[in-house]
Amino acid sequence: MMESSLKMLAAMLADKRVSSRELCQSWLTRIEALNPVLNAFITVDADKTLAEATLADQMRANGQAGPLTGVPIAHKDIFCTEGWLTSCGSKMLHNFIAPYDAHVIKRFKAAGMPSLGKTNMDEFAMGSSNETSYFGAVKNPWNTAYVPGGSSGGAAACVAARMAPAATGTDTGGSIRQPAALCGITGLKPTYGLVSRFGMIAFASSLDQAGPMAKSAEDCALLLNVMTGFDPNDSTSLEREKEDYNRDLEQPLAGVRVGLPREFFAEGLNSEVAAAVEAAIGELKKLGAIPVEVALPNSQLAIPVYYVLAPAEASSNLSRFDGVRYGYRAPEYTDLNDMYSKTRSQGFGDEVKRRILIGAYVLSHGYYDAYYLQAQKIRRLIANDFTEAFKSCDMILGPTAPGTAFKLGEKADDPVSMYLNDLYTIPANLAGLPGMSLPCGFDRKGLPIGLQLVGNYFAEAKMLNVAHQYQRVTNWHSRAPEGI
């Protein structure tokens, strides 16, 4: 059952071979056994999960079941979930019981999908290894001495370890795709604006986007159908007609032009990752896809641009954490300013403070034009590169990350080397394009390798088609870590 696709689980529920309560109980048992090892969940609450499962079973009994009613899912702890601790991986919110549901949570509830709990993450989604979480690092299920990637590391690890059939994640600079790659699962960051950000704790609002993380592209398509849709509560939510992301899964790939940006295969790419991606290109060619070379000449600037824009937005977004209305407040202080400063000093971890400081600096008087405005202009150049590239290809393909998982602690003291992990994922966030990672092999150490697809705006169905066809002829995505 733990290996079943969402479609198979839904069929089992529809045939009354299993109830949602039974499904949830099985996964809760597995979570209970594995979480002490992997630390993938911050909060598990069996009573709440089973209550939601009972509701799902009632929905089905009343003939109100949708395609995934009764199938459980794990939610990243960045989504406000009424009545559940919603910590965002931070001491600042270690006691924050959300008083309302994020739009994404509402949609999964309406679809009758019980929550298995809240997954661990880098503090405020700032990190690429899940080591910045106040609740401790998550371990990679393929080798517990290694990181799972981040910031949606708990989500990726729990799906890889079969502690949940699927999970939600968020991606500001690669936080769905990079951990999906490092844990050997499939994850998709939709076009900016497709999924509502309402109730999703903000990091960098012009880049943040939620998406599905699961075992396969087929599962991601089903989840995307639940997650997307207009929400008046998010001012950047797009008013578009509802799409069915399953519709193109079975389309043949003959004639699909996959663009290979030469910058994504240049220096800095691990040779084993390069070889696995090359092999994947070979598989796609056999399916009829046509590789074409494209250029993204400004993509090398994505990291410096991102580390101006994301911290600038974060320094503004995180100013709300002041110890007045919710969350942590320092126990001792002399006056109001002292209360703010001590609360924020004690409540935020090092990486979050670092990014707030960068943001405050680049936005400060005298530096705004040189940093913030310059970064916004280069952001435009990076987006224009993609527009140009999509004139000669239908989809861009490359590695998700420059290497496989690294050891816990290996990069924790070196922010710059940590930031370089997101070299290939950040450009899609800056441009607002959809991006996806799927497993395409393993290195000599037995650690998973991720293949990245970047599509044009609203090309999710096409990307899922390419990924699904690839997954029909390969089995990387169905491998699970041994001994877990």
Partner: protein, 95 residues
């Protein structure tokens, strides 16, 4: 460019984050490494390029000027650090 420990303390003050001298020293080294990375974008010629603030060119929607939210202060204040008579408590700011 490079930041001095005093610069770090000045920014920390702006951001309302208390920072000790020792922390400012460590932060300075790490922040300077990050600013070195950021500096690589300074050389790019961006004359006549329109800054891109957002991924989609959409304008802000307007909604009808009607009440949409109900009063939930009791729920919201249950999770506040200090509340008295429906008010959030903070240290005295006016003598």
């Amino acid at each position: 460019m490079s930041l001095s420990p005093d610069d770090v303390k000045r920014i920390a003050r702006l951001a309302r984050i208390e920072i000790s001298d020792a922390e400012a020293d460590v932060s300075q080294t790490r922040l300077n490494a990050i600013f070195e990375l950021i500096a690589t974008m300074q050389a790019v010629d961006t004359r006549d390029i329109n800054p891109m603030a957002h991924a989609q060119d959409v304008s802000q929607r307007l909604r009808d000027d009607v009440v949409t939210e109900t009063d939930r202060h009791v729920t919201f204040q249950q999770i506040a650090p200090a509340v008295e008579r429906n008010l959030y408590l903070v240290p005295k700011v006016i003598e």
